[in-house]
Point group: C4
Chain length 295, copies 4
């Protein structure tokens, strides 16, 4: 949460802010966990409510629960906005929009019948779960994963780009080869088939019927099977680098201020200064003198 949203004074608003937006105190942690639990239950209710059989049997209960969740979430949003100095800025943020969207459908259903079907949006609220992960010790693991993902993102983007071009080209080819009866009625549909095949999903809703089409799709399959190695290899390599770099020290060189030394380095790789301040430099005091002399 950006600190600019935080109220300055001490009192109910500050107390509420710490309760709702932070998770340092025990009470704040309990609030977070209670909120996530409520979100998970409400999402489950939305999901079960979509099952015709359960709706027929427990529809009334679901309806009552739905209004209960909506009232609680509305109250929570009101409190959130109350304890912030710039409530509008929160409403425009990612979580603010989701919070608003997750209560709107129920309120709208009073005016417009059927608006409640949009309640599915509430599912996006489960993204708040990542907040709870912060409470647990998943943070370090997540950081390494994210760092590896960020590092491999450009290579994987380049890969996805190539995949996109492959499916357009192969989709067009199969559209020319196969008769429309096989289901390849248009190029976009043929491209959809190429994606289904290349990613090795293989629904089987559209399959080639001619020998030539089957030969082409065999090629697409083997290609998809083999090039899966690319994103995996890229991510594996970056993951290994991230794990290895956990070795890197955060401390700066006392001589030149250079950062990013490997943890087992003894001399700065920039200026040659002895890094381990607890033991003396085996090359002696002379060098130390010399360094101050030459600088």
């Amino acid at each position: 949460m950006s600190s600019s949203l935080r109220p300055g004074g001490i009192g109910l608003r500050t107390w509420l802010f710490q309760l709702i937006f932070e998770s340092d105190t025990r009470l704040a942690k309990s609030f977070d966990i209670a909120l996530i639990s409520l979100i998970l239950v409400s999402v489950t209710v939305v999901m079960l409510d979509s099952v015709a059989l359960l709706r027929a049997r427990h529809g009334e209960l679901f309806y009552v629960m739905e209004w209960g969740f909506t009232l609680i979430f509305t109250l929570e949003l009101a409190l959130r906005l109350y304890c912030l100095d710039r409530p509008l800025r929160y409403l425009k943020s990612f979580y603010g929009i989701i919070d608003l969207l997750s209560i709107l459908p129920t309120w709208l259903s009073l005016l417009i019948p059927g608006a409640q079907s949009l309640l599915v949006v509430r599912i996006l609220r489960v993204l708040r779960v990542f907040r709870v992960l912060r409470l647990m010790e998943f943070l370090g693991e997540g950081k390494i994963l994210l760092q590896s993902l960020r590092r491999s993102s450009r290579k994987i983007l380049l890969f996805l780009f190539t995949v996109l071009m492959l499916v357009v080209i192969f989709g067009s080819l199969i559209y020319l080869i196969e008769p429309p009866e096989a289901g390849f009625t248009s190029i976009p549909k043929a491209v959809y088939w190429a994606i289904v095949t290349l990613t090795t999903v293989g629904y089987g809703d559209i399959t080639p019927l001619t020998p030539l089409g089957q030969f082409l799709s065999s090629m697409v399959m083997i290609m998809g099977y083999a090039i899966l190695a690319v994103p995996t290899g890229v991510f594996s390599a970056e993951m290994m680098r991230s794990i290895r770099e956990e070795r890197y020290s955060d401390e700066a060189c006392p001589g030149c201020g250079h950062e990013g030394h490997e943890r087992d380095a003894r001399y700065c790789r920039r200026c040659g200064t002895w890094l381990d301040e607890e033991t003396p430099d085996p090359h002696g005091e002379k060098r130390g003198d010399e360094q101050t002399a030459t600088q």
Copy 2:
């Protein structure tokens, strides 16, 4: 097996304990292998008995064999309990419950007809096979695998968690987009579809029919194809770390600080210094003197 279950004295019970629970002696090994073989045969019989054709032809044989296995396994369980000091504690353990469950259905079928269909539980007894692996030299390999799994477990859990959220969100989206005729009759079913698609299984029992739905599922497929890189990359990196650590020492050479010596190296491969500080260099003190002299 926890040693607190082990009987103290010497005699028939101790002999039985060593035979059944341990695998040091030749006889104990034979017992283990005989037991595993019997389990595999009995599981095969349960499997074959479920095939209508085979049951019609060999039903009587299967019935007799079934009772044979049950009697033997009952005797085995009785001996197990007899030679333990705290038999109840074994009955409450994982293998104890499985042992009991694997004979109960046949005995119950005397009272309640049809209880025998629960015999499938016996299949869990094949888990005892992992015991036999201990006899073979698979232990070292398994240890490295388990260590790598344990190390990557939190990252892979975080990944599975993200996958779960993705399938809920994408399932809900496709539920809104696709008409129920395509099979997306409820959100749970749509989430099932999202799992089938994201994991690249692709049954094809429920497939999108509208262009928008096909576009969305193309996105899910490509996502599932690309993020497979995450668990694989995580496990590859940890596997590599485990293999490296098994082989290379972490200690630096006391002479030049070079790292990455193989565990069995005695001299630094860079400067020739004796690495094992606990025993003296067989090439004598002279070299040591020489080194201190040159510094």
Copy 3:
């Protein structure tokens, strides 16, 4: 673009050459981006035109746009040929052939009705997109990917070769085992099934019906599941090597022989020796003297 195609003089042709073939100046970059955008739009029109519904509704618009694109691309090709010294050599190059093929179908449709259906070829023009990638900073990433691919290509080829032999053998086996009613009407079709199964695509258009056939295909599936590790492992290993080589120098420290310095390191992180032998150590000769003195 090979420099031998480039015109020597200064004037309109040189200016055009720089605009069309190079991307150093701001105008040339804009030209590239405009061309790629136009190609993407024209490809989209070809794809949408193949959808029966959209063609019925917007067929006339698509027809007009098609001729517009053809005229622009024809003009572009004419300019390309005009500003080159050896236009024929360009026409015979990969991009030259694609440029020609992408306008021919529309022109031919004046003479031969229906030739326009070959316009799908225009999709190959999207390959020009890789040119635009050069403008963005994807080049470095692509170079590492390509290097890793080149290094693993022989191993992956050997793997694909083995896969090809496996599918021929397993396809022939299933052809012998399964009755033709299951869809295994010929060996080539059975090989197609083996590819669908081994690559884990699993359309389900042809599936084994007999127990023996299902057993055999289970073996093919597990094999396909396990040997996917081969291309991935090969590429991962090569990727890691490429990343490491990009970062770490191969040269050893002249002082202590320590290896694995980062490329931009100036002092050995082990013994503090100046690494760059071509320029003198800014900390002066003194240290150099000192080092020779201590040896």
Copy 4:
């Protein structure tokens, strides 16, 4: 080819042996390539002959070609046996059996009508292609692949073993849960379904219909998706080790004869002897003297 089969003298048999079994001379290479080409063509004919349409049209041609191939291969086998000292031993070897099997069906078809359908066995002859790979420079690559496979084989076997137990347990569970109408008519069939699902093949010939069954299969899918990381990670790690170990020198230490030094090692990691014979040991002659003195 084991050297014990090789004829000792000089003459026609030795010349034939070198032509057929070796590939050092230019003529021997040509023979190998001609043989492989012939095998590939004959396999193609067997495959095409199984297509009903092509058989109807070109059946006579296929028949004639078939006899041509059989005569040539019979002659080849006769020559092979003629130039060997122990022909029977070759007939009992892997390639010998395949050679025999690939000509037998055609000869048998003279006696027993229909025996020709066994000609599919000839496909195994394509395994001889691996012989030709030796001619090309694929050998080095193959050696690294094989070494990595051998090293990871035990871990991957352990993995496959666990997979087998998982599919038996999950197959039995789904058999209890799902009604037989869904296709789960017996445990073996349910295990087949579990394999289809866990390996992410997903034919869709048998799919769960009940919500509980769909929940269980979702678990199997996610499990299959995640544990694919295991064989891939194992093989990646071993592959990387193999590539790194290409660094290992084959030369033995001149002091103690120890082998397996890393290529950049300067001192033997066993006895501390200076390894690089071309440049002098920087620690001087003293140590050299000392070493001869202490030995």
